[in-house]
Subunit: 138 residues, 2 copies
C-alpha cells in the first residue's frame, strides 16, 4: 500500500493523463482518414507502454488488448475511451463517470483550432455534443 504522498501523486498523474486522453478523442476528427485512425490507435498503444506507473500501465495494456481502440469517428473514440475510464474506475472502487458529460467536464480552451494535420479534419469543433447511442466497432 503506497503512503499518502505517493497515492496523491499517482492520482494526480492519473487525472492529468485522463484529461489529455479525453481531450485528444474529443478533438479527433468526425470523419478521420485511415492515417488519422492509425495515429490514434498507435498513440494509445505507445502511451500504455510508456505510462509512468507500471501497475497502471500493465492494466491499461490489458484493457487495450481486450478492447482495442475504436477510431472510426470522434464519437466512437470518445465513448470507447470513456468506457475504458469506467473500467479503470471500477477497478479502483470509484463511481462510474457519466460519458454524456464528457464535453462539459473536459474543456481544452482551444477555440476551434484543430490538433491534427489531416485535410479531413477541418470540421472538428470542441462544442459538438456526443450522441447517446452505444458504439459497437472493430
Amino acid at each position: 500500500m503506497p503512503h499518502l504522498g505517493n497515492a496523491t501523486a499517482k492520482a494526480e498523474l492519473g487525472r492529468a493523463a485522463w484529461r489529455v486522453l479525453h481531450l485528444m478523442t474529443l478533438r479527433f476528427p468526425d470523419k478521420p482518414t485511415p492515417d488519422d485512425r492509425e495515429t490514434l490507435k498507435n498513440y494509445f498503444h505507445l502511451f500504455a507502454r510508456l505510462y509512468p506507473c507500471g501497475e497502471c500501465a500493465a492494466h491499461f495494456q490489458k484493457l487495450l488488448k481486450e478492447y482495442p481502440p475504436q477510431t472510426s469517428s470522434r464519437k466512437s473514440a470518445s465513448l470507447w475511451l470513456c468506457s475504458l475510464h469506467n473500467m479503470v474506475n471500477k477497478r479502483l472502487g470509484k463511481p462510474d463517470f457519466d460519458c454524456l458529460t464528457l464535453d462539459s467536464t473536459y474543456d481544452c480552451g482551444c477555440n476551434g483550432t484543430n490538433a491534427t494535420t489531416s485535410a479531413s479534419s477541418s470540421a472538428t469543433e470542441n462544442t459538438a455534443p456526443l450522441p447517446t447511442d452505444p458504439v459497437h466497432e472493430d
Copy 2:
C-alpha cells in the same frame, strides 16, 4: 485572444500534458533498448500530432523537427524534454523551469514499478537524481 475560461482550460491542459510527459521521461530506462528508444521517439511525434490545442500542437511539431527527441538514456530524454519545456515557456512569456528540480517537481507515486515492458528497464527508479551536465545527442 481567448477569453479567461478558455485560457484557464488551455493552461490546465498544458500542465496535465507536461506532467505526463516529464514523468514518462523520468521513468524511461537508464539504458534503453533500440525498441525503447523507438517507442519514446514515436510517442512524441504522435503526441504532437494529436495534442488537442491546434496552435500548441503546431508549435510542438516545429520544435520536434528542430530538436528531435533524445532517447539514449533517461537523463538525455529528461533534459531534452525540459529544454523543450523552456522553449515553450519562453514563447508564452513564462519564466525558465529549473531542469535540476524535475525530480522534486514531478512525482509519479509509482513506488519503483516500471512502465516499460523492456527487459532492459528493470533498474529504473523514480528517485534517481538527474545529472547536471548538458546533453548533446543526435
